[in-house]
């Protein structure tokens, strides 16, 4: 054993100070200050929150700032990639043409020096048997072998690419109808997020009202109301969203209605559970003896105290609403074209998957990242509100 050396003066008795013993070193925090502190310290949750804020801002202001609209079509410039390899041909007069080859639809597009797509280059001659197309640039001739996807001069020497160029006129390229992918993506974010938020809000109101009433009334009313919830929760809800969509026809409003009217069951259960325990509290009895009405007790006393679990359920509901909306749009029951949501964007990209696989990337990434963000934020909120639940 090692000896611990303690200086003799350390053994002297300290002076007792009553006031110092009462002094609280750390400032006293309210529950919400505590929650905020824990949430701030949670990096994934804050990242998620930051992403969501950016996304909401982009969804609101993005379509206003974009110089393209989500419905404007340009069939001549369809399926243009965001990044392409350019070729340059200089004829004898010194005029240089810059262009790129779109391997998906076998077209050549002219590119301006600043990187904008100027337009489609017309072939002077198409030889379908040899699978060749000829293009004239001044006095130079370029042959495109569509089978081998190779460009060469008339004498047979292959054309070397001059470099990579990011598409400046459509930053994320265009879709099969020549619509700007970025504009549609931003507009899709707007629709998807609006559907998710509004549907969640509808769920919130129905669920809180129903659950709160059942929990507060208790007794027979509670039993009957919860039986109904039990019956509803055994029904596969996706089926009902689909049925409602069939009845009301697809469109933005019916998506919101369908999702909003069906998924409130979980919320009702959670609110009821909270209210059941909270209504036994003394402050409720105090409020009642002071003559507060039932709605007042519910709104002023019971609901504010059960806001934690409600908040967590809400953040978890939003991503599932986005999920369901995209699911519905994917099978063709979502918003109607030319409107776009992430689901319709994905299903449009799937149609052209063979030729333009990269088109799937943007909508898929948008949905997945949003899911990550909401999941992280929801987990973080749950941990912050009740640290005991952390695993």
């Amino acid at each position: 054993m090692t000896d611990i050396e303690i200086a003799p003066e350390m053994w002297a008795p300290t002076t007792r100070n009553g006031a110092a013993a009462e002094y609280i070193a750390a400032p006293s925090l309210t529950f919400w200050q505590d929650v905020r502190k824990r949430l701030w310290a949670n990096k994934p949750a804050m990242l998620g929150l930051g992403f969501i804020i950016l996304l909401v801002l982009a969804a609101i202001f993005g379509p206003m700032l974009s110089r393209h609209t989500y419905f404007e079509q340009n069939l001549k410039l369809s399926n243009v990639p965001p990044l392409f390899q350019t070729y340059e041909v200089t004829d004898s007069t010194g005029a240089t043409t810059r262009f790129f080859f779109n391997s998906g639809n076998l077209n050549l597009y002219e590119v301006t020096p600043s990187g904008e797509v100027a337009g489609l280059l017309r072939a002077t001659k198409k030889d379908l048997i040899k699978k060749q197309q000829q293009f004239k640039f001044g006095d130079k001739q370029v042959v495109l072998d569509t089978a081998k996807q190779q460009l060469s001069f008339a004498d047979g020497t292959a054309l070397a690419p001059s470099g990579w160029q990011w598409n400046m006129s459509n930053v994320l390229g265009t879709d099969q109808l020549g619509r700007d992918v970025l504009a549609r993506q931003l507009y899709g974010a707007r629709i998807s997020l609006t559907v998710a938020f509004v549907a969640t809000l509808v769920n919130f109101f129905i669920g809180v009202f129903y659950g709160g009433l059942a929990g507060y009334l208790g007794g027979k009313a509670d039993t009957i109301m919860m039986r109904i919830v039990e019956v509803i929760s055994t029904i596969p809800l996706t089926l009902y969203v689909i049925l409602i969509m069939v009845v009301f026809n697809s469109g933005f409003l019916s998506v919101v209605l369908a999702i909003g009217s069906v998924y409130w069951v979980d919320m009702a259960r959670i609110v009821r559970g909270q209210i059941l325990t909270l209504k036994q509290q003394d402050y409720v009895a105090a409020a009642r003896t002071m003559g507060a009405s039932t709605p007042r007790i519910l709104v002023r006393h019971l609901l504010p105290n059960s806001v934690g679990p409600i908040l967590v359920t809400l953040t978890m509901l939003i991503p599932s609403a986005i999920f369901i909306e995209s699911f519905m749009s994917f099978i063709g029951l979502g918003v109607t074209p030319p409107e776009a949501s992430w689901g319709t964007l994905t299903s449009e990209a799937v149609e052209t998957l063979r030729a333009y696989p990269y088109q799937l990337f943007f909508p898929a990434a948008a949905i997945s990242l949003t899911m990550f963000a909401f999941n992280f934020l929801g987990d973080g909120l749950r941990d912050a509100l009740d640290p005991r639940l952390r695993t």
Partner: protein, 309 residues
């Protein structure tokens, strides 16, 4: 116990009745009849068709007839496929959906649970991090994205598996993978957190203190208790595997019920939509019932009583 089972069965019947009623009236609230289409039929033909399918009866009579039909397990004729009954449509698609669904469920249990256990036993070490990263991705990426990306990479680019159909046994890989991806991740996360919680219980310490072998402690005391939450979600998992098959069967062109369902939606084939919905709901309720009974066997602490709340 018996009283509880009887009560559950009664509740199932009530629910099924509610579903049939709701579906029936929802489908009849759709504007336009089943034979309204771009091509205007001649009024005589329209009337004859309505008479043939009893669509000129008052709504309550149609409803009673439909109820009687469902009770005798007859879901009526399809309006769009002449000569096909909804029963035949379901019978045609059922084997495919059942096969992929059962395989997916097997994957969910056989992969999700072990992954969760491995993660929990290696808490905060690399296997845990790996499992959690995969599980987080699996929960966040929609199944149709997984399906299309997998289809592109493995079927179109690498050519390892066929792009559609189930004629080849390799054709099962991608649909099952896409269908079960989300739930493997979900179950892995659930099993991990549940096992972590169980490992901290006092009885685990007691078992260890008694000098039981590590395997016995883990499997008999730890796992059995930690799997209870996993079993409870299996009911919803089955439900979601079935509804998830709508998209997956669409993408991989599998002739299952989900594809028929989506087709009947785009065709506005109301009897088919109605019949398949009711069929799905019935299957799901039976599944959830079975899972609840399983729960009873697994956890002897739970004694269901008829009045249990």
């Amino acid at each position: 116990m018996t009283a509880y089972v009887v009560q559950r069965l009664l509740l199932m019947l009530v629910t099924l009745f509610a579903i049939i009623t709701l579906t029936f009236f929802l489908m009849h609230a759709v504007p336009g009849g089943p034979f309204t289409s771009e091509k205007m039929l001649q009024p005589e033909i329209q009337a004859a068709l309505n008479a043939k399918y009893h669509l000129d009866d008052p709504l309550w009579l149609q409803y009673l007839n439909y109820l009687r039909g469902v009770l005798s397990l007859d879901l009526g004729p399809s309006f769009k496929y002449a000569g096909m009954s909804v029963n035949e449509i379901i019978a045609e698609g059922l084997p495919v959906t059942m096969k992929t669904g059962a395989l997916a469920l097997l994957c969910v249990v056989a992969l999700g649970v072990p992954l969760g256990i491995v993660a929990a036993l290696n808490r905060n070490r690399w296997p845990d991090t790996l499992v959690m990263v995969i599980a987080t991705i699996g929960v966040a990426v929609p199944s149709y994205v997984i399906a299309t990306v997998a289809l592109y990479v493995f079927a179109l680019r690498l050519g390892w598996v066929p792009t559609f159909g189930l004629d080849d046994w390799r054709g099962y890989f991608l649909p099952v993978f896409a269908l079960s991806g989300f739930w493997i991740s979900f179950i892995a996360r659930l099993a991990r957190s549940s096992l972590l919680e169980t490992l901290q219980q006092d009885y685990m310490m007691t078992a260890k203190a008694k000098g039981l072998k590590r395997g016995t402690v883990l499997f008999k005391h730890g796992l059995r208790n930690s799997l209870i939450p996993v079993v409870t979600v299996l009911g919803p998992v089955v439900a979601n595997l079935l509804t998830g098959s709508f998209v997956i069967e669409q993408i991989f062109a599998l002739p299952g019920i989900g594809r028929h369902f989506v087709l009947s939606i785009t065709n506005r084939d109301y009897t088919a939509i109605m019949g398949i919905t009711i069929f799905y709901a019935a299957v799901l309720m039976v599944m959830i019932f079975i899972v609840d009974m399983l729960y009873l066997v697994l956890d002897p602490r739970i004694k269901y009583r008829a009045d249990a709340k």
